[in-house]
Symmetry: C3
């Protein structure tokens, strides 16, 4: 752990200090839990009042108008990004012990392992696999035949990568994730399901992170692709031949069926499900638990199952609770209408009225 002054932090993130720049910062904490030596940050204006009571030594904010004087402030253009920079500066990312190549790892003679790798006990690296420089491979992880892994990747314990998959550089794969298992492809004939060889592979581009217990199927004919810089949460299922564009965020438990294509910078909420063979544009945001069954064009924000435009969807799905009273209203209207109409029939017509006049 490093200690920095608030002034040093401000300089580091390109922000400026309102208050005592010499105050010492050792760590970070939420507004409610921060104590002396902690920097906190205001993520949401609704917590602004906490600035008056926080015990943090300083708070990162986006604009100086808030609570100046109550606590030293670090004003940054993008406060969450500044928070990230400071977290990295003070704490760094996870350190990986330098253990070199364990004699209890099984590495094929035909596999290549780059310089500076840490290969732990009980790892298997199969024939023809190629691991770049600076990779860390934790115990019981399995690298299949002819798998390619770039530089500076981290594979946590019990990751499995089936044969022939290609992993970029600086990729992180969390524990118990499976990459490249066969796609769910069967030809049903006379009532039996016949397995179709899945000759596609999985390509995970640079700077991707894959969560724990994910399953990313290999493609039937084409590769399944996770685009550069995309981040997948835990327990996500990606179908065969699906392409996730670069810089997407997929929250935990998302499921995408096969042969679907996502553009860049899409955000998928937790438990969202996408059917196969559809195309999602760029910068699309899909709500948690959404069920997406059609193509979606660039920039759309959708939610619900079936998913519809968020501008109407939030209200529409929120209205399901009023269905009983809506149905009751319709029934009342129908009764009233019936009475009116039957009343009309019994009622003398204007002609009658005239005649009777």
């Amino acid at each position: 752990m490093t200690t920095k002054t608030l002034g040093e932090l401000a300089q580091y993130v390109g922000g400026r200090v309102l208050g005592d720049a010499n105050i010492k910062i050792r760590s970070a904490a939420t507004l409610g839990r921060a104590g002396e030596g902690d920097i906190s940050f205001l993520s949401n204006d609704k917590y602004e009042k906490q600035l008056l009571t926080t015990k943090a030594s300083a708070v990162i904010v986006g604009k100086e108008t808030v609570a100046a004087g109550a606590v030293p402030l670090l004003v940054a253009e993008d406060p969450y990004y500044a928070f990230m920079q400071i977290m990295v500066l003070l704490h760094g990312h996870r350190k990986h012990k330098k253990i070199g190549i364990s004699p209890r790892a099984i590495i094929s003679d035909s596999a290549k392992v780059g310089a500076g790798c840490q290969i732990h006990d009980f790892v298997t690296i199969s024939d023809g696999a190629k691991i770049g420089d600076g990779c860390v491979i934790y115990p019981c992880t399995f690298i299949g035949e002819n798998v390619q892994v770039g530089n500076d990747c981290i594979l946590y314990p019990n990751v499995v990568i089936y044969e022939g998959c290609k992993i970029g550089s600086r990729v992180i794969i969390n524990s118990n994730a499976t990459i490249g298992e066969d796609g769910f492809g069967f030809a049903t004939h006379n009532g039996a399901h016949h397995k179709i060889p899945q000759i596609g592979s999985v390509v995970i581009e640079d700077d991707v992170e894959i969560g724990a217990c994910c399953g990313i199927e290999r493609g039937t004919l084409n590769d399944t692709i996770i685009g550069q810089g995309s981040k997948l949460g835990d327990l996500i299922a990606i179908g065969h031949g699906t392409k996730v564009g670069p810089h997407c965020l997929l929250v935990a438990q998302v499921g995408i069926a096969g042969s679907t294509t996502l553009g860049h910078h899409c955000i998928l909420g937790g438990q969202a499900g996408l059917v196969g063979h559809i195309t999602i544009g760029n910068c699309v945001a899909i709500g948690a638990q959404a069920g997406v069954i059609n193509n979606v064009s660039d920039g759309k924000v959708i939610l619900g199952a079936p998913a519809i435009d968020a501008s109407q969807g939030k209200r529409a799905y929120g209205m399901i609770q009023y269905l009983p009273e809506m149905k009751q209203s319709i029934r009342e209207l129908q009764a009233q209408m019936k009475q009116l109409l039957s009343g009309g029939e019994n009622e003398p017509s204007p002609e009658d009225s005239k005649n009777s006049g």
Copy 2:
């Protein structure tokens, strides 16, 4: 397997026998499948008729009014709890082979392993980790640096616990579960997602059971907590910094996003999803597949996506199927109304009528 008389069982669970107390019981089975020597139980009054046909040697019931005479009954105040007690008495919980500490487990010199532990082959216990007494750790399980595990825990094969997590006593973690992977925390800046160091940890309190293939993220700043006595089913995803209170039941495939807090004795149905940063009270029941996007107060029963009070929700969601006919009814009403109103315009007004009179 042990054999007991029905009378012994009744004494053990604090119940009483209606019928032959000397009948011998060796095992338990469902009403439909039980045979001689089996005790069964009536879990639901709708199966009461099965008491007349079951081949069970005895049946645990909650009240004596049912089918007395057809089959010997063990009347217990809480029949399901009595069933549990009898199952434990007759069958016991899983026995774990006494294998001591395998020479093929890799245990750091700086790790501590308590008395009476069974540490299987291919286990990794990293630097500074501390395992209590009487723990069973199955093959290929990974214990990260400085992890603390209490007494009498069972970690099934291929469990992964990342560094620094704290596991209580009598905790059971099933296979392929991952504890303490990084929270899904990224600061997006100029279109790229930058990983935020996750300096929180995971705390799993005493008597918790975690299902297979679960993923429990470590917190960004605060710890993720699974409260004492809570039980999690399989394939559950818990977000960073989320706190599950004591004695909760989370059914399989539940997902809870980050920084959400649950009270005690909550029950979450399968596939339910909770957004982040909300507070769920005590004794809340949440239906299967529910989508919870707001705080929920103590004792509420909610269901649906979006989740609403069950008292109205069951009816409201069940009414979606009537939407087409409701829409049709509205259309008809509108047509009738239009006719009425236009008829009204064409119809002579009462004044006209008077005038015409």
Copy 3:
């Protein structure tokens, strides 16, 4: 990789050629990506136009009317099945290296391993387990006590099978799947959840495939059964005592609670959830994300949460988006009705009219 002429392929699948039967086929590809030497197939009439532009050397089709002349065609009665047969002929299924039994696998003296098995490093085969002939067990897979595995099974890395489970022949289990963990069964008494011993097991019948990261619970009293020829995608959770009939297809992330029974040839879409203790008939199709809470009879097609008949369900759920305007229409009708009715009260009755006449 094998090369065949189009005529040879047609003969192999029992189809016939329209065009040059001597053209050489080496592999398969989608219509849009195929090149010289590739055979493609028309899976859906909506892609029929691609037959005119594809660079494939041949295309498998179901009927000859399509685009004859543009590209050589292989006409087959069941084109997807023919595609599967050709994929197997040209590429074969995954080859497994002949490594015999690794000295780094730990096999109990009381376990039996059949002829021609490939048992990889770091595998554990526990006391009393019995593995049939020709099985492949990849690294770090765990076989519990008294587990039975049939012939020609493939267990990918890091699979865990708890004690006593029975696996048929030609079963494939993908990585990080867990079979036979305890069912989610607790008796709640005085606010604490007491674990019920789960004395049932899991039976996986012949020709089943289980996806990555699945969790299949053992039964409390009865066995959990996955029927012959059924195929499960990734990240599926099957509850205790549930019976999946033969030849079912369960897409990724499906969840089925305990004691539910499925017939044969059911198809469950991704993320579908079924409550416990219900019975699903034969040949039932359940839509993605459906929530099934009641018994379903043979041949039904259902969708939505709660699930309803697809014939009305697709329209009904698609109509949620119109709820705001429906509510608005009802409000307008109510206002108009109120006006009409109040107008009626103020309006002289026909009698008045007569009187005034």
